[in-house]
């Protein structure tokens, strides 16, 4: 499920400890981004530039983890069956560049086998359950703000919506990165001695 050949900012992801650090860094980035968005709105300075940055963050932050697009740490959930038919240059021209520099579209890592498919489905069920409760909590918070601070309703609404979208797009990937054990990086592992 995880492309062990990947390195994020020079850090190999085959070790679970490194992956957990990546997940924590990602959560901090989301919190920082959502906070900046919140305070930016408070000063009424949100303009087209801010919206463009928000869109970039929404598309690129989850893509770093993978899952949705090829080239991330987690293999694409739907697999990438076309990679075997094109070379690297053609793939980048036809389907866009990998999510981050150094992320290559490896044909061997493009298809999910039965264990990975099962893991993907189980994690998505868990993520849906968590996200459902999280959405309920956000709605409750939004309702409280609407009742007691109606002046900041727009600000809080956009903030909640942004946070929910980011979490919906990246929760399964973060759960996979957090829970998968340490993985062998050597495909030609010798038989046990």
């Amino acid at each position: 499920m995880i492309s062990t050949s990947r390195k994020v900012f020079g850090i190999p992801v085959a070790r679970r400890r490194n992956r957990r650090i990546l997940v924590i860094a990602y959560a901090c980035a989301i919190a920082a981004f959502a906070g900046a968005f919140f305070f930016d709105q408070a000063r009424h300075t949100l303009d087209i530039f801010g919206i463009l940055i928000a869109l970039q963050m929404l598309t690129n932050l989850p893509a770093l983890l993978g899952g949705i697009r090829a080239g991330g740490v987690v293999k694409p959930y739907r697999g990438v069956r076309w990679v075997a038919f094109f070379n690297q240059e053609q793939r980048e021209f036809l389907f866009g560049r990998p999510a981050f520099p150094g992320g290559s579209l490896d044909p061997a890592a493009a298809e999910l086998d039965e264990r990975e498919t099962r893991l993907r489905d189980r994690i998505h069920f868990l993520a849906y359950t968590l996200a459902r409760w999280f959405a309920l909590l956000l709605f409750a918070a939004f309702a409280l703000i609407a009742a007691f601070r109606p002046g900041s309703l727009r600000q809080a609404g956009l903030f909640c919506f942004l946070l929910l979208v980011l979490i919906l797009w990246s929760l399964p990937q973060t759960m996979i990165l957090w829970t998968e054990p340490d993985l062998s990086t050597d495909p030609n592992t010798e038989p046990p001695q």
Binding site: E114, R115, Q193
Partner: protein, 177 residues
């Protein structure tokens, strides 16, 4: 009675002590721990790998040693093959042993049955229960029946299966004419 380890596999494959319950792979035997007293109030256990601090010193190593002997000589069953304890799947398997016997890498086996090489590692550790299709594919690859590779019960040592229970439980002294 302690059964002497006898390997019918190729030399170099370690015999494994298997408990009736699973223990973590980094389990440190009690005899390896040496109680260490740092001060009147602080102490702990020290092994060759790490020091485990405790709020109070362990009273005496003489209490621990008999416990360790009991576990080592009465409850352990010596298994002659590398049967891994079942992980999340609850299935025992002989994939690692068969790979060792036939000198097959994970990648070769993975390519033959159409899965990722990491999945073979998960299978060997018992962390993943294969589908019926994959189990049959592996069995076909090794030219063995499925029940010879996967089981819900711990596998008997191959020496016992081949030569019978009586001969394998005898000590070398008893086996001598």
């Amino acid at each position: 009675m302690r059964v002497p380890p006898v390997s019918i596999l190729r030399p170099g494959i370690p015999e494994m002590l298997v408990l009736p319950f699973s223990i973590p792979h980094n389990f440190v035997f009690l005899s390896e721990w040496v109680p260490k007293r740092r001060s009147v109030f602080f102490g702990g256990c020290e092994s060759k790998h790490l020091y485990l601090p405790l709020l109070f010193p362990i009273p005496s190593p003489r209490i621990i040693a008999p416990l360790d002997k009991n576990i080592a000589y009465t409850q352990y069953t010596v298994m002659q093959e590398n049967t891994p304890p079942p992980g999340e799947s609850g299935l025992y398997n002989r994939i690692a042993v068969l790979r060792a016997e036939r000198n097959i890498s994970r990648q070769s086996l993975a390519d033959a049955v159409g899965v990722n090489y990491q999945t073979i590692g998960f299978l060997e550790r018992g962390d993943y229960g294969p589908s019926l299709k994959l189990a049959f594919q592996i069995a076909t690859y090794f030219a063995l029946p499925v029940e010879a590779i996967f089981s819900t019960q711990p596998f008997q040592p191959l020496s016992q299966q081949v030569y019978g229970l009586k001969s394998s439980t005898k000590t070398p002294e008893q086996n001598q004419p």
